[in-house]
């Protein structure tokens, strides 16, 4: 990506305020309400630096979750949570049963690294499950929890097929990635994408990202990385079962499960109707039986 010409308007290191439409300078994206935005996370260029995790925590004022060691590769974050909205998974490929191999193939990374995040599903199960309307679709086509409305019922937590939304027991609300809703409103690209040094996390308009991703897949396949595929693009894995598509989608080179992603998640709200109709039918059938029993004179003389 070449430098934007407006970059020359800001030669000084101290700025008086936010650069208007800064995202044009940092990400080549103009942020306008009414369009769909998302993340394209290309795991093949992730170097596991965790700058995204740090940038996210810094911008969103999120406390640390734990400062222990998991003993599982270099991943001490473990999982997405109420306080961790980006999680870099380290999957160690070499070795067997937790024992690292003594030798590595030349020019190959021994790890799969993947910066996981809320998928901002098109038909988001958390949003559909939310009984208060606290979770909503923004003007940028992203999914956000309104903290002043959430009453901590926690129903969005089991609704999410990716295990993303999480409840904070301290403040009693659920939290997840907002795709930096506040930054988007101010013309800034999300903190994680801005911080990513390898463009593993790309922020942009969804149609542009899809195109970039397809190009990238083509390049990789040409180079012999035949196993590369997209997770979360329309009709792809991760976007199954009526979820539509995922606004945050991924380029992966292993089975989804290896990254702790479901191969074929489903839309939870599709089960409302079958459950309700069957339940009411059962009640109705037993009620008819009750009417029959109550109306009969059988047994009254005994």
């Amino acid at each position: 990506m070449g430098l934007h010409e407006r970059i020359h308007h800001y030669p000084q290191s101290d700025l008086d305020g936010v650069i208007p439409n800064e995202s044009e300078l940092t990400g080549g994206v103009t942020i306008e309400p009414g369009r769909s935005y998302g993340f394209f996370t290309d795991t093949t260029v992730c170097i596991g630096c965790k700058a995204c995790e740090v940038a996210c925590k810094e911008w969103n004022n999120l406390p640390a979750d734990s400062i222990g060691l998991t003993g599982q590769s270099f991943d001490n974050t473990g999982m997405l949570s109420a306080n961790t909205w980006r999680h870099v998974a380290f999957v160690e490929r070499e070795g067997d049963r937790g024992v690292r191999a003594a030798e590595q193939a030349p020019f190959q990374s021994g790890w799969l690294m993947m910066s996981d995040v809320c998928k901002h599903c098109h038909n988001a199960p958390c949003l559909e499950a939310c009984p208060t309307g606290a979770i909503f679709k923004t003007e940028f086509d992203t999914v956000v929890v309104q903290q002043d409305i959430c009453n901590g019922c926690g129903y969005c937590v089991p609704a999410c097929p990716f295990g993303v939304v999480a409840l904070n027991e301290v403040d009693g609300k659920v939290h997840k990635c907002t795709l930096c809703y506040d930054r988007l409103k101010g013309g800034l690209e999300p903190a994680c994408a801005k911080a990513c040094p390898t463009e593993s996390i790309q922020f942009g308009e969804l149609s542009d990202l899809h195109e970039k991703a397809r190009e990238r897949i083509g390049v990789l396949h040409e180079r012999g990385v035949e196993q590369a595929y997209l997770y979360g693009t329309p009709d792809g894995p991760g976007a199954t079962g009526d979820l539509g598509h995922l606004n945050a989608f991924f380029l992966l080179t292993e089975r989804p499960e290896v990254y702790n992603l479901p191969a074929a998640p489903t839309r939870a709200s599709n089960r409302v109707r079958p459950s309700l109709t069957t339940g009411v039918a059962t009640i109705g059938a037993l009620a008819l039986l009750a009417i029959g029993l109550f109306s009969s004179d059988r047994g009254e003389g005994r």
Partner: protein
């Protein structure tokens, strides 16, 4: 670069080379073979619902008991010709119907993590959210059951007043309809999630929840003040509901096996569900009821014992089923297996 950890085939061909993917390519044999059970260091892939099984399970039980009592009470009132036959049943039904609006609602608010904002449930009405559907069903039921309860109290205080009878007669109709709703929407509440055990068999689970509700109401309505012919009819209804529940329980187990997550049926909560709720809560009372009929002379004592067991069993079932689901969500080998393409709805496969 083949790694033993992921199994030979999986490492070489994670997916079809063109980027073809589960869900689009259909359930080709290769796709099913490919997932060799890998997980991310055995970490949970889903987050279990942050519910307390006993608090929410207690609510589900009370909603079933109150809702179905209102329904059966109304049916008894409308079908019984002799006032003496129906009076005690409807009286008990009116009081039982007050449990869900009072204790049940309190349990629901208690389980919120920001309970002072409980009223935000009334900001919206959403048909995609069983919790929202349930909020409005419970509100409607509370209004109708509350009117019926007030009328019953008035009748008990001043039996010669006529207006309470009229109120009770009118209020019992919406109470019965809303009651049918709160007896069964709780099944949709659990099934419309991504939690494997809850989501794997939505229809059969709904049958279980609904029949369990009717069973508890039939058992608790048959109090000693109720006439013995009526008690026998309620015992017949209890037996029928238990029969339906046992069949549905079997179907749920078969469907969990069919979804490839049969392993989920052997956790701690699953055993509680099987033994306490299934064995002592449905099979034993059903056996007692059948036994008392086979003996020729129906024993009121056996019927009553069966009623106690079925009621306790229903409560145990609601609590254990919630725990069972949460357990399954924490196990990645269950949730990742459940989210394989062969479990997608047929039309979308």
């Amino acid at each position: 670069m083949t790694s033993d950890r992921f199994g030979g085939d999986a490492a070489r061909h994670p997916l079809a080379p063109t980027g073809q993917v589960p869900g689009t390519a259909g359930r080709s044999g290769a796709m099913r073979r490919d997932w060799a059970g890998e997980t991310d260091y055995g970490r949970a892939q889903l987050k279990p619902a942050p519910f307390s099984p006993s608090v929410v399970g207690g609510y589900v039980f009370l909603a079933g008991l109150s809702g179905s009592s209102a329904l059966i009470g109304a049916l008894a009132d409308l079908t019984q010709k002799r006032p003496g036959e129906r009076r005690d049943v409807t009286r008990r039904a009116h009081y039982l119907a007050l449990l869900a609006p009072t204790i049940g609602s309190a349990l629901l608010v208690y389980d919120l993590h920001t309970p002072q904002r409980f009223y935000n449930m009334m900001r919206v009405a959403k048909k995609t959210s069983p919790m929202s559907i349930g909020t409005w069903l419970l509100l409607g039921f509370s209004a109708a059951a509350g009117a019926g309860g007030v009328a019953q109290i008035a009748t008990d205080l001043e039996p010669h007043w006529r207006w309470p009878h009229r109120i009770a007669k009118v209020a019992q109709v919406p109470a019965a309809l809303f009651g049918a709703g709160i007896s069964t929407y709780t099944a949709a509440l659990v099934s419309a999630t991504s939690t494997p055990v809850w989501a794997a068999a939505p229809r059969a689970t709904a049958v279980r929840f609904a029949s369990s509700s009717i069973a508890t109401a039939a058992a608790v309505l048959a109090g000693s003040s109720v006439s013995s012919p009526m008690r026998r009819k309620l015992a017949d209804l209890l037996l029928a509901a238990l029969g339906v529940e046992i069949a549905a329980t079997y179907v749920v187990a078969k469907q969990l096996d069919g979804a490839g997550i049969g392993k989920a049926r052997f956790g701690r909560w699953a055993w509680i569900e099987r033994i306490v709720a299934g064995g002592f809560g449905t099979l034993l009372p059903a056996a007692l009821l059948v036994g008392s009929r086979l003996l020729g002379r129906r024993s009121a004592k056996l019927d009553r014992t069966a009623g106690y067991l079925a009621t306790a069993g229903s409560l145990a079932f609601r609590i254990a089923f919630l725990g069972h689901g949460m357990e399954s969500a924490s196990r990645p080998e269950i949730s990742l297996r459940f989210a394989q393409p062969d479990n997608l709805p047929t039309a979308k496969r």
